[in-house]
């Protein structure tokens, strides 16, 4: 084209980024990549390879080794072999390696950016300006955490060999999110990149080599689901970190149930993008562009559901359409495009099918007038209006450049629409009213809330979901915990720690200890009062000597249903201030103290421990109440150091309605030690007390009633532990479950919890010394009882 013509037309021309260096890298490997195991390029056992295709040109870039279970064995063995030395190296030396990786990535940033863009199809602008800088930032940040590991996190230790499976949408960034915290905390890793996008992980392996990272600390195995599942199933892998679809997340949860493997899952989303009428609408439009047309919409936290206040909806839609017309789509290495190619034909097909469904269901489709390039896997930016929450496109994660728009009338309705989803990954809130923004942010179920911005990331902030968007956080202090386990000292065992019963006296026991006293058989306790059990059955509580000492109601699934409903209705407790919660906990301690001898006598009657031990348990319970009363207004969040001019609030929030199956030993202390930290964080609980010694819990009904505990906060259903655990773990309106029972019961709970991604804490049949204050009380329990929500608040006037 001649200059004078362009002078008149003022068109954009092609602006290709050179692929030369990336091609040299591919050629150096003869366009055929092996597995990176134990610091060596290793041929896959079965010598099979698959093609890596560039989505925007449909050209084959390289052949990639297709790992099988045998290769996974080798890689895990290498990681296991490297572990002891890596741990022994110490915090500072590990920090040096992480720092070296960060530097190396920065030095080769353009090569990474170009290779990523070719492999994934995303615009070079994004890899160059967003992905790769964030990768380097992640390693820098975690070099710091590696350094501080021994001083700041001394109550924790490394987990061991970690298996990591990452998606194709941010290949190198997801690798960084996985590998940096894992090795910083002293673990060794086996990472499997997504089949579509292995190349930057292989370049990363080369960098590990260049900086002399000890062999076996990082192993990269390429391949498909069979390699992934072999990694998940491997007995020497102690933790699985996965980012990908909710369906696969559930498969992994089920596959690892009962194994004791630690899990972090970062899954799908259908994140709301909420626009109030006082928002800066032109800025909202750019926010929408960043929310849904960033990375072709293939972003787990994409703001894919636009919720607009009715009064400004038409105005905003018009502005968005005008903006869409200006978006440029094209080959990924063009420096002047906004939208690149969809990763693969199979994903393109999914998008096309869902869009067709949206049209079929009556929503109004809008796409720009321009056409997509013919070669490559492209899909135009798309907006649907006239969408209702019941439309498929409003519910299903499309994972493509498709926005669905709905309107709301009131703030309450906005929150309801926002939360009308099984997901809870992120949300974006647009208003110029700080009061409104900070009112809505805590009400939205999402791990990340961006105010007047969207898709902003930083290594210092945790990222992860609520609900079926998975659990665990990546980034920030909260993300480190995923790669550590609390030190337990001698507080866990295969045998109970409960004090041995006092020597039994000779003489025949009476059949019953009731002896004509007025019967006070406890019912169920929920919604702040006692309720008759649905089934109408009771079971006997016997002393060790075989004497009947009382009866409790036998709870069934209907009782659980009622208790869960009562818990949800108990909205007062979570809204109380820390100070108010502390008052109630102190009051509980006060009232328990007043009835100390009665509780001790009951413990003795049920367990036949000595008077001293029985008294000790009550006193310890009172102490525990004091501990959590103290924490109630002190265990709080942080303000993370993230991007420039941004306050990032890391707020611990309650999980919601939490089920607790109490340990069988420690009749009173087991109840107090689990229930009280849970409610301290604002959860409402449905508790199944010790099946064997339930009377300490039922005796508490009156204490709860007299201590101003709001109705619905603590709900108690007595009965068979595993039977009720089954119902609770299958209840989709229960958000978390703690189970202290058998190994089989633990497995069942984890298995059942996969369906709605409950947060679980189970004991795998091990006993815990609930009397050990150091390991069985305090911040670690509060952490388990809460989830961190990061709220990003940019400022500047």
């Amino acid at each position: 084209m001649k200059i004078k013509e362009i002078f008149e037309s003022m068109e954009y021309g092609p602006a290709p980024e050179s692929a030369n260096a990336a091609n040299e890298f591919l050629d150096k490997h003869k366009r055929k990549f092996q597995l990176y195991i134990d610091g060596k390029w290793t041929k896959p056992v079965e010598s099979k390879y698959f093609d890596s295709i560039s989505p925007s040109t449909e050209q084959q870039l390289a052949q990639i080794a297709d790992a099988t279970a045998k290769d996974v064995d080798k890689a895990v063995a290498a990681a296991k072999g490297a572990l002891a030395d890596w741990v022994a190296l110490g915090a500072h030396k590990r920090a040096r390696y992480l720092y070296a990786i960060a530097r190396q990535i920065q030095k080769h940033s353009r090569l990474f950016a170009v290779l990523e863009s070719m492999d994934n199809g995303k615009p070079i602008r994004e890899t160059r300006d967003i992905d790769i800088p964030l990768v380097a930032r992640h390693f820098y940040h975690h070099a710091g955490w590696a350094q501080l590991r021994d001083s700041d996190l001394k109550d924790y230790e490394e987990i061991g060999v970690v298996g990591q499976i990452i998606p194709w949408n941010f290949p190198l960034l997801m690798l960084a999110w996985k590998i940096a915290p894992a090795i910083a905390m002293g673990n060794t890793v086996v990472l499997k990149p997504a089949e579509f996008t292995s190349l930057t992980a292989l370049l990363f392996a080369e960098i590990c080599d260049q900086i002399g990272l000890p062999k076996g600390v990082v192993n990269i195995i390429t391949g498909d689901a069979k390699a992934g599942s072999a990694l998940v199933d491997h007995k020497d892998v102690k933790k699985i970190a996965f980012t990908g679809s909710t369906d696969v997340g559930k498969i992994i949860r089920r596959a690892t149930a009962g194994s004791g493997k630690k899990l972090s899952l970062e899954l799908g989303g259908k994140s709301p993008f909420i626009v109030f009428e006082d928002a800066d609408l032109d800025s909202v439009v750019e926010g929408v562009v960043d929310a849904i047309w960033f990375n072709q919409g293939q972003v787990c936290c994409a703001g894919s559901r636009l919720l607009v206040e009715e009064s400004v909806a038409d105005k905003l839609y018009k502005k968005i359409r005008a903006r869409m017309e200006k978006l440029r789509i094209g080959t990924s290495l063009d420096k002047g495009i906004d939208i690149g190619a969809i990763v693969a034909p199979v994903q393109l097909k999914t998008i096309e099918d869902l869009v067709a469904k949206g049209v079929e269901e009556g929503s109004t489709l809008w796409q720009p007038s321009w056409a997509c390039p013919k070669d490559g896997y492209f899909y135009p930016p798309t907006m649907f209006t006239d969408v209702s929450p019941s439309s498929s496109i409003a519910q299903v994660e499309i994972f493509g450049p498709v926005l669905v728009a709905m309107t709301f009338r009131t703030h309450t309705e906005a929150v309801k629409l926002a939360n009308n989803t099984i997901y809870g990954l992120a949300a974006s809130i647009w208003t110029e009213n700080i009061n409104l923004a900070l009112d809505i942010a805590p009400q939205v179920n999402a791990g990340t809330v961006w105010i007047n911005c969207t898709n902003v990331f930083d290594a210092a902030s945790g990222f992860g979901g609520y609900r079926e968007s998975g659990y665990g956080r990546e980034g920030g202090r909260e993300g480190l915990i995923e790669y550590l386990k609390p030190k337990v000292g001698n507080s866990l065992s295969k045998k109970s720690f409960y004090p041995a019963p006092a020597a039994s006296k000779n003489g025949k026991a009476n059949k019953t200890a009731l002896n004509g006293s007025i019967d006070r058989t406890a019912k169920m306790y929920y919604g702040g009062k006692q309720a008759r059990p649905d089934g109408g059955y009771s079971s006997s509580v016997m002393s060790p000597a075989g004497q009947l000492i009382g009866e409790v109601s036998k709870g069934n699934r209907k009782d659980i249903r009622n208790a869960v409903e009562a818990a949800h209705a108990g909205k007062k407790w979570p809204s109380m201030t820390g100070h108010k919660k502390a008052q109630v906990l102190y009051y509980l301690a006060e009232n328990l103290e007043a009835r100390k001898s009665e509780f001790a006598a009951r413990i003795k009657a049920m367990t036949n421990v000595s008077d001293k031990d029985a008294n000790w348990e009550v006193e310890e319970s009172i102490k525990r109440l004091f501990t959590y009363a103290a924490y109630a207004d002190k265990y709080d969040g942080r303000v993370h150091h993230t991007t420039h001019m941004n306050v990032t609030l890391a707020m611990p929030e309650p999980i919601g309605v939490l089920a607790i199956l109490c340990p069988d030993d420690f009749p009173l202390l087991g109840f107090i030690s689990t229930v009280i930290p849970a409610i301290t964080m604002g959860n409402r609980v449905v508790v199944v007390p010790s099946e064997k010694y339930p009377l300490s819990a039922t005796d508490l009904y009156q204490v709860l009633e007299t201590s101003d505990v709001p109705p619905g906060t603590i709900n108690i259903v007595t009965g068979g532990k595993d039977e009720l655990a089954d119902v609770l773990s299958k209840h989709d309106d229960v958000e978390g479950i703690w189970y202290f029972g058998s190994a089989e019961g633990s497995k069942m709970v984890e298995l059942n919890s996969a369906e709605n991604m409950k947060r679980t804490w189970v004991n795998y049949g091990q006993f815990r010394d609930w009397g050990n204050e150091q390991y069985s009380a305090g911040e670690d329990l509060l952490r388990r009882a809460s989830e961190i929500k990061n709220i990003w608040i940019p400022y500047g006037a």
């Binding site: 200059i3 004078k4 362009i6 003022m10 021309g13 200006k326 002047g336 110029e432 911005c453």
Partner: protein
């Protein structure tokens, strides 16, 4: 004293009317509702401003062509206390022939009659400019209304405008009273700008907001609205004398107002960033901004100008680099 010949020249200059493809902004009655509820989110604006240039890349012959276009959009400016006819004469010569002939030939643009958009001077130098620009179609822009501070009575401001228009300026760059902006006395501002516009007659009026002295973007937006309602042909960021001059972010705020004003009234208002624009790369960024946010109409001199003095020099060097593949030096290009 003006000679007879000069008087004739001024007459001709006054009578020739600027050619525009759009209907001139006649302004609308003052209506605070149009701008009262404006809320600009600064951090979001700055995010967009930081990425708008990075989302587009203009390279090779496109870059050369865009830079040539940028030249046609420059208000080649000298606004210095020590201006004399001699440097203004040089400036005007450069305005008529902004790029070395041999380079234009290589670019196949020698027959295009490429000139800058206007020459911008203080009132006293208008006669020199009129003489120097004889035979060209380059308009003379004069800064007026007590430029740069604007701290003179309105009556004097109007008189200045009249004098400059009579002297042959076809474009008048006025400054708004910053006190009225800071005090949010929008009605008074409207009246003042409207009076200036009336005084301009057929001369086009560019209203300088001096955004570096306005504390918030929301206020910049309100001042933009009031200026457009009062009939400004252009809104302009800065005098070049404030400590903060034109930025992409503040430009974004102003041009979004231009877009909404057009939607409301159908009038296209022009935009002129001024001050601190020195690099060819900056010029490209602004052109990208205009193309993306407002469209190609705002890539023409009747709706877009750069207020700049040293920008042209950098563009010339870039053009020579495009032609020869060698990095150029400023002394290789005739100075203004």
């Amino acid at each position: 004293m003006a000679t007879k010949r000069l008087k004739k020249l001024i007459r001709t200059a006054r009578s020739s009317v600027l050619q525009h493809q759009h209907k001139r902004n006649e302004g609308i009655p003052f209506d605070a509702e149009c701008f009262q509820s404006i809320n600009i989110n600064k951090s979001a604006v700055e995010r967009r401003a930081a990425t708008v240039g990075k989302r587009r890349s203009v390279k090779k012959q496109w870059q050369a062509a865009w830079l040539l276009r940028a030249i046609s959009l420059i208000d080649l400016t000298t606004l210095s206390g020590d201006d004399t006819p001699s440097n203004v004469i040089r400036l005007c010569a450069k305005a008529k022939s902004p790029v070395r002939q041999d380079l234009l030939e290589k670019l196949e643009m020698q027959n295009h009659g490429l000139t800058v958009g206007a020459v911008c001077v203080y009132h006293n130098l208008i006669p020199t400019a009129v003489q120097s620009l004889e035979g060209s179609n380059i308009p003379i822009a004069a800064v007026s209304t007590g430029f740069p501070a604007g701290k003179i009575p309105l009556k004097e401001k109007l008189k200045q405008i009249e004098l400059s228009v009579n002297a042959g300026a076809k474009e008048i760059d006025i400054v708004v009273s910053r006190d009225l902006v800071l005090q949010a006395d929008w009605k008074a501002l409207y009246k003042e700008v409207k009076a200036c516009r009336e005084a301009c007659g057929d001369a086009h009026m560019k209203t300088i907001l001096a955004t570096g002295q306005i504390p918030t973007y929301s206020k910049v937006a309100r001042a933009s609205w009031v200026s457009m309602m009062a009939g400004s042909d252009f809104i302009k960021t800065s005098t070049g004398k404030e400590s903060v001059n034109a930025t992409i972010a503040v430009s974004l705020v102003m041009i979004r107002c231009i877009r909404e004003y057009e939607e409301l009234t159908g009038y296209k208002v022009g935009f002129k960033p001024a001050g601190g624009i020195r690099k060819a790369k900056d010029a490209i960024n602004w052109l990208v901004l205009m193309k993306e946010e407002l469209g190609d109409d705002w890539l023409k001199p009747d709706l877009f100008r750069f207020g700049a003095s040293s920008l042209l020099g950098d563009i010339e060097r870039q053009l020579e680099h495009f032609v020869t593949g060698r990095y150029s030096a400023s002394f290789r290009h005739p100075m203004a």
